[in-house]
């Protein structure tokens, strides 16, 4: 599975053919979560808590059930009991038990013959609440006397004396911090805050569920990972995994937020209660914002020391991560990756996972990394400015290379940070002249990527065309990259390969399309499966020619004698071998099941130019450059798309996206009008440079590129705003009221 050095020149990898699913998607033929209907289906609606924290005293659904056309009402009593750990958290988040834990927490659900009837019926369910004190801010939640979200939620890692809302503690370090700071000529210490940001996928969660009285069910849903969905749903409902078949729809964005479940177990429970009638459940945007996972918010303290010539001598960080009303904020990742760009001898980090009355956080593109990058890269930028050192040079000086000991422990493998910094320095954007009120910001970021459980199969058709079957839903063009890797391996045209995303009954288990793993892990599985097919086809050719299978080689889609000594035979094409396969031993297919561990991390460096209106505090992005290591870009257009998408989501998070809670603990902006993601006219064309430092752990050098791209934007933009205004902002988002207030305060100071 190592890098295949025998193929330095690729015929197809690195080309940009049309994606196989493109026509379906631009014509509206592709079927997304809400596009499937079943005869006789019911429609579900969920009743949600209007309170941030309240004990559920009673639920009376008699008025809803009295409506003609209402077929079922479910509450927590209709789910399995006795769950523990993550399963319990997931179940509790999908349907509240004793308490409603946040504004929007599901309390009951109804299934009826029409969507409007279901919605009206849900309003008739009477819930008696005992309202409890609430807390939504991470720092407030840790203070003595803060309302306790759930006693006993903390795990073994939490030291004595901390508030019960602190549910996980993480500490990591090396070297001698005191000595490191003593060596420094400049020490900068600052505190930072970031708000929660939602993944903002355009397609709300949707599913069609059927679960019969025989305990067998089927689920069609919009997800990044249907085996995860199967595991969670069957756990929540108390049935065996094999009894539920989950089929993924096309997916209108996920960014990590669709690696878990919110409505699917509820739809299945409604179907079961309605006697096995299929139930369709579709979330509104407001439900998505109130009750699905945003990323964690963070409160952080950073201290770094540097010598006059720009060498980082020591770094320490404290990271308080707010993950909603459940454990699970990505405190370990935030902590580990905070200083991961740098070679630092003396480093120490502490992380706290803190619960509040907010929705359960979910993964969001490099979960945990952007917040830490914002804090750390802001401090590095400030130090570079104070010492008069170019921000790229300071990173070139301290940036990690293969063989260094990383700040969080393991040895650094072959990575491309230095290459991205050099490419950024050489890019014309870095030399573009700046006008008044304009500033340039630089930051780097990292994501370690992932392998994970992976199954795939490749089957040869009767005409020699190839069917590739993978279990990772296609979010960012992975059908195209799978087809390219299969076609490259076989030596056949791209168009002769068709890629399918299988349901949970058709392959071994697969982790979701997450962790930037699909092109790496499913790609590797496809290559290995193709190689198994090739080996079998070589055997068929050897048997036909009556020579040793070892004397047959595969080249450009043909089985050939390996040399003059093997014999003189006309090469056999994949089509010829396939046409005869029924008579030469039967079907030809290959498959692969493993947990590939040699994934390779990806570094990126961003350079952004902004202009800040000094009279209104409004920031305009003028130029934006993403440079990132892809290992090998299988389909460069989709790699560039990932780079640009990460940058754009980072721009939104940095400038205007935030969860605004009122004093009553209710979310004030659960619509896209007030939850302000960037619109197209807010953005310049995002420039991209693909760096390729091959991953030694993949046959074609693939690293995975999905997540790194959102790590540098937060600090890069904050650094650019600091350069444009002369004011260092330490709290995101950099919304106009905040920036204008900062500019005014600096003027008066």
């Amino acid at each position: 599975m190592a890098l295949d050095g025998s193929k330095p020149q690729f015929k197809l990898l690195g080309t940009r053919p049309n994606r196989p699913d493109g026509l379906d998607k631009v014509t509206g033929r592709a079927r997304y979560g809400a596009d499937l209907n079943a005869p006789g289906q019911l429609h579900g609606a969920i009743l949600r808590s209007p309170h941030a924290h309240a004990r559920i005293v009673s639920i009376d659904a008699s008025k809803a059930l009295a409506l003609k056309g209402v077929k079922a009402v479910v509450t927590r009593a209709d789910f399995a009991t006795g769950l523990t750990g993550d399963d319990w958290n997931m179940q509790e988040n999908c349907m509240a038990g004793e308490k409603a834990l946040y504004d929007g927490h599901a309390v009951a659900a109804v299934a009826a013959t029409t969507p409007l009837l279901a919605k009206d019926a849900a309003k008739l369910i009477e819930v008696e609440y005992e309202i409890l004190p609430h807390v939504t801010d991470v720092d407030e939640a840790m203070k003595e006397g803060a309302p306790v979200i759930r006693d006993g939620a903390a795990d073994y890692s939490v030291p004595d004396g901390l508030h019960p809302n602190v549910v996980r503690y993480y500490e990591n370090g090396k070297g001698d911090l005191e000595a490191g700071f003593a060596e420094a000529d400049l020490i900068v210490e600052r505190s930072f805050k970031t708000e929660a940001a939602h993944q903002g996928y355009i397609e709300p969660h949707a599913c069609l569920a059927q679960l019969g009285t025989d305990g067998q069910g089927e689920l069609w849903c919009c997800t990044q990972g249907h085996w995860f969905v199967r595991q969670m749903c069957t756990a929540a409902l108390g049935i065996e995994t094999s009894q539920l078949k989950v089929t993924p729809s096309e997916i209108g964005g996920g960014f990590g937020g669709k690696t878990t479940v919110f409505i699917d177990p509820v739809a299945l429970a409604l179907s079961r209660k309605a006697g096995g009638t299929p139930v369709k459940l579709v979330m509104s945007r407001s439900e998505v914002l109130r009750a699905t996972g945003p990323t964690a918010s963070a409160s952080m303290d950073i201290k770094m020391g540097m010598t006059k010539d720009g060498r980082i001598t020591a770094a320490s960080g404290v990271f308080r991560m707010q993950g909603g009303a459940f454990p699970g904020a990505p405190v370990d990742v935030t902590t580990d990756l905070a200083f991961a760009n740098y070679r630092i001898e003396n480093v120490h980090h502490v992380g706290y996972d803190v619960m509040t009355n907010r929705p359960k956080q979910a993964a969001y593109r490099a979960p945990g990394a952007p917040m830490a990058a914002f804090a750390c890269e802001s401090v590095v930028d400030e130090m570079a400015t104070k010492l008069g050192i170019d921000p790229l040079d300071i990173r070139l000086k301290n940036g990690v290379v293969e063989g260094d000991r990383s700040t969080y422990g393991p040895k650094v493998k072959k990575v491309g940070l230095i290459e991205t910094l050099e490419a950024a320095k050489a890019h014309p954007n870095y030399a573009a002249p700046l006008g008044p009120n304009q500033g340039r910001g630089v930051a780097s970021g990292y994501w370690m990527n992932w392998g994970g459980d992976t199954s795939a199969s490749v089957a040869i058709g009767e005409d020699g065309a190839v069917a590739v079957t993978v279990g990772t839903p296609d979010i960012g063009g992975s059908r195209a990259s799978m087809a390219l890797m299969a076609a490259e391996t076989f030596g056949i045209p791209y168009e002769n390969v068709r890629v399918h995303i299988a349901d949970t009954a058709s392959l071994g288990i697969n982790e979701p399309t997450h962790g930037s793993r699909a092109t790496f892990a499913s790609g590797l599985a496809v290559i290995q499966s193709a190689k198994e097919c090739i080996q079998k086809m070589c055997v068929r050719a050897a048997e036909k020619w009556d020579i040793d299978p070892d004397a047959v080689t595969w080249e450009d889609g043909f089985a050939k004698p390996s040399g003059p000594n093997a014999g003189d035979f006309e090469p056999l094409s994949i089509a010829e071998i396939a046409g005869e396969m029924s008579d030469t031993g039967g079907p030809i297919a290959g498959h692969f099941e493993a947990n590939p561990g040699k994934f390779g991390g990806s570094f990126g460096t961003h350079v952004v130019d902004v202009e800040v209106d000094p009279e209104t505090g409004r920031t305009t992005i003028l130029r934006y450059l993403v440079v990132q290591d892809a290992g090998k870009a299988i389909h460069p257009s989709y790699v560039e798309g990932q780079f640009q998408g990460g940058a754009v989501q980072g721009i939104g998070w940095a400038l205007n996206e935030e969860y605004v809670y009122g004093p009553d603990g209710r979310l004030q902006n659960p619509i896209f009008l007030d939850y302000r993601v960037p619109v197209a006219s807010d953005l310049p064309m995002i420039d991209t440079v693909i760096v390729e430092v091959p991953n030694p752990g993949h046959p074609y050098g693939v690293r995975g590129v999905g997540e790194t791209g959102i790590t540098p934007p937060l600090p890069a933009i904050a650094n650019a705003v600091a350069a444009a205004t002369g004011v260092r902002f330490t709290e995101l988002p950099l919304s106009p009221p905040k920036v204008l207030a900062g500019i005014k305060a600096a003027k008066h100071a």
Binding site: D120, S286, E615, N656, L673, D674, D682, P736, L740
Partner: protein, 310 residues
Amino acid sequence: MASFANSKDSAKLGGCPDHGDLMNYHTPTSFSDASAIASATSGVTRFLAGGTDVLVQLRSDLVTPDDLIDIKHIEGVKDITQRADGGWDLGVAVAGAEMTEHAALIADWPGLVEGMDLIGSTQVQGRATLVGNLCNGSPAADSVPGMVAAGCTVTVTGPDGSRKVAVEDIPAGPGRTTLQKGELISKVHIPARGENGGDAYLRFIPRTEMDIAVVGCAVNLRIEGDIITEARVVMGAVAPTVVLVNDAATAIIGSTLDETALDALAQAATAACNPIDDKRGTIEFRKDVAGVLAKRAAKIAYGRAKGEAQ
């Protein structure tokens, strides 16, 4: 959906024919019929022209009307007509997109039209109307400051006949108007532009489009030579209703819009603000930006009055 031929027709709409909570949908063919229907209703009543607020509020469960009166079927509601005096009459269902395609209207009132043009997306522009924006009662309505600055009036039709009302007298507070039960607006009247005039509207939003004004400002003025002789300055999103700021107008009348006048204008605009702290902006921010926008809008209006290309 079926079409409804005359004003007596109405249809029952609702979540489900099996339960009682139904909505009456009316399609009158005259304003007096529309007024009569509205007078006779007892529950929540909404008029439907473009529907870009009503339907969104309906779907978000904010407002569920018992009676929905669709006034698009009344003759002339989509007409833009120039009067003999040079002014303009606009039907109540004229969409933003029709105004922004109307070269003569834009030549007369670029500020009024650009206020309307800022609302929503291209798709929304195909439906959204001036009157809907006015009657929705939002203090942040983008088209209202421009209408007030221009000195627009509307005809209000009610049970007792019709009357003309200044646009600034319609809003009563967030989500409320001064229209009485059974009353609706049946036409918009824009004054004649006359010589040496110019108007402009600017709003502040954190993004570039698809957003709601955090502060809005319309300026309409007339000059003689370089001197401003008439002016109307109107602020949006800084008080419960749009505010016609006479002090701001006074600050620039008689001036050449020099720095002193601009500073006085900004101060007056800021002083007229009575904003709230909310998710879209702070009180301090709104006050500051009100002054900034007033200066910038006045400069554009002044340039237009002088015939400079904008």
